[in-house]
């Protein structure tokens, strides 16, 4: 059987697209490079929006990337059930696109934060987290300037009530995110946004752990089963 094909979008200013593609390959899928200015998703089975500073984060992080030509096709496909993972800047783009609720604002401490971060997976039932167990603790890097997750009280209550907080910060909250939220999902569970970087924790040589690989093996298994 052919390997699952997972697209990785490159925007002007994306930084982690190659690491994301590498993580996809290590998980056993074929990474497919997608370009922001195309309007073709190349029939991929899933999409990763990588970290970085798309369009220089001008105006607001993700605000301009949201209107990239490829995003129109992506939003439609996501509504149709295509699995989508947004990491860091990708999470910001997904919030600006309204594929995920809430928004990401400058860190409460106003500093860029770069550290190895302990997280708890609070929802192991999404397309991207099935290889974890609910409550599992993992360590992956976090590196951001605009990582403070906010949502209005009603949205926050909905996310908590429906179990849609995918991951939460442990030990300390690096950016002032409400309820220590590190990642959320949409209602259907196919779209996940995560501020920390699992793609930087897939090999022991370069990462603090290999704990991040589970996001990518989760999607590969899901695609094989489908």
């Amino acid at each position: 059987m052919d390997a699952a094909r997972v697209g990785v979008i490159t925007f002007p200013g994306s930084l982690d697209d190659r690491d994301a593609a590498r993580a996809v390959r290590l998980a056993g899928a074929e990474p497919v490079a997608l370009w922001h200015a195309d309007d073709d998703l190349k029939d991929v089975d899933a999409v990763v929006l990588p970290g970085g500073f798309s369009y220089g984060d001008y105006l607001r992080a993700g605000a301009i990337a949201r209107f990239a030509p490829l995003m129109g096709a992506l939003v439609d496909a996501a509504h149709g059930g295509l699995p989508v993972l947004g990491i860091c800047n990708g999470f910001q783009v997904l919030c600006e696109s309204h594929l995920l609720p809430g928004a990401l604002l400058p860190n409460a401490g106003l500093h860029f934060v770069c550290r190895d971060q302990r997280l708890r997976i609070d929802d192991a039932d999404t397309a991207w987290t099935r290889d974890y167990s609910t409550g599992q603790e993992i360590v992956v890097p976090i590196k951001n300037r605009d990582g403070r997750y906010v949502a209005d009280p009603r949205t926050l209550a909905e996310l908590e009530g429906e179990g849609r907080v995918v991951a939460r910060y442990l030990d300390l909250n690096p950016n002032g995110s409400l309820n220590d939220i590190a990642g959320v999902r949409n209602e259907a569970g196919n779209v996940v946004g995560l501020m920390p970087h699992p793609e930087h924790a897939v090999e022991s040589l370069t990462g603090p752990s290999t704990d991040g690989l589970g996001f990518f093996t989760s999607i590969v298994k899901r695609l094989v089963e489908a």
């Binding site: 105006l59 607001r60 605000a63 301009i64 209107f67 919030c95 600006e96 609720p101 809430g102 928004a103 604002l105 400058p106 860190n107 409460a108 401490g109 106003l110 403070r148 906010v150 949502a151 209005d152 002032g176």
Partner: protein, 80 residues
């Protein structure tokens, strides 16, 4: 040619650490009596006709589409 101003502010319930940092600095500079500072953004949009209702309506559309994120921000539009 006319200019239309769009003021964008974080919603009042959202923490504004930049505004807080500014407010904390003020007493050291000898300014007293300031209880809070909120930081926002101002855009000046130049349109090629007069700043009539149609132009203001279009700028309002621009503001809600791109300049402001209604999830976290409010905006006001007025001719300059």
């Amino acid at each position: 040619m006319a200019r239309v101003v769009v003021d964008v502010m974080l919603k009042p319930e959202i923490l504004d650490p930049q505004g807080q940092a500014i407010a904390r600095k003020l007493p050291q500079l000898g300014f007293s009596g300031v209880t809070a500072v909120r930081q926002g953004k101002r855009f000046e949009v130049e349109v090629d006709g007069p700043a009539d209702d149609a132009a203001l309506e279009q700028v309002r559309k621009i503001a809600e589409t791109l300049l402001a994120n209604p999830v976290i921000e409010t905006f006001e539009v007025r001719p300059l």
